[in-house]
Amino acid sequence: MNSQIEPANPLRRKRWNPYLVGTLIGVLSWITFLTMDKALGTSSSMVHVAGLVESVAGNADKVTGPAANSYYAKEISEKTPMFDWQVFLVIGVFIGALVSSRLSGDRSTECVPGLWSWRFGPSKATRYAAAFLGGAVMLFGARMAGGCTSGHGISGGLQLALSSWTFFMAMFASGVAVAFGLFGKGGRHHVV
């Protein structure tokens, strides 16, 4: 496909205007509030998946039942079952991004991003280890804070929640500091 010509069908375009995307995400949040009495969020699903993995791995009594870990007991309950709406939301996010990228041909097989390679070399193992560690630290922080960029950032932000604006400032400040720490000012010329 010639990347110079924008396809007439918007679904086949690679990039939508970010203000349009933001508006539509805002409208999506109205719809989840109105039809499901829910706010968009993703990180508590990871607790459900972790609980599921631990259950399958033979630790079921640690996740459910009277001897359950108090966090799993709090997060996975009658009200928010193992496969609750948000777990399906996360599955949906995967499918939606898959469909969107297939429609536009904007597929990626990125193993080591250009910026990372510029700074830390092209080793896949190093990048995968860092991605794993980064993901673990991030989710640990999300659960301590009670949400992530969607649950706190977008949903909490729009509800003008004191906790969410606290989270937003904290995570943005440390994200900026660590990104500059990792890549330096020079990294700004290598963001690919």
């Binding site: 968009l40 966090y71 777990v87 399906f88």
Partner: protein, 195 residues
Amino acid sequence: MWFDSPGMIIGGLVAGVVFGFLLQKGQVAKYRVIIGQFLFTDYTVLKIMLTAIVVGAIGVWGMLQFGMIQHLHVKPAVLVATGIGGLIFGVGMAVLGYCPGTGVAAMGEGSHHARWGFAGMIVGAAAFAAVYPSLEKGFMKLGEVAVTTGDKVNNKVTLPDVTGVSQWVYIAVLAAISLGVFALIGKWERKQGLQ
């Protein structure tokens, strides 16, 4: 204990597909866009988030005002855990280059390293569950901000709750700040010859 109602499952799935579709079209399922925001070379994340927050706020608070929805879903204001959790979150996000939602969207787009990030997220969630029992009575309650109405103590507070200033003032100010930020970003982008 195992499954939500069929309606919630379908609703969650549909909302997720739309959300993932929008994240991918918005280009935020890409490492370079997320890291570019932290390095201030790409402002896509801020544009999307601020627009979503302002538009979302107008609708959600409007529906609340007109009785179309009965309540909000505000997270407890325990500001020490939220603040420190946020700082830890930012560290992990800068290393991974995705947040939880955009990381899953990146997997949908095909990114290989995002899969390792996802595996890490599951381990991070399990790690937090493991330490939670030792934190729940002390640390997780520090810096609590609550509003008392009658004999009810509520820590799920909003900025209007704690300041007494109308939500519409906050939304108007937030919209004005966002428009100002967008204007500055546009000016910077033109200077860079970006668009």
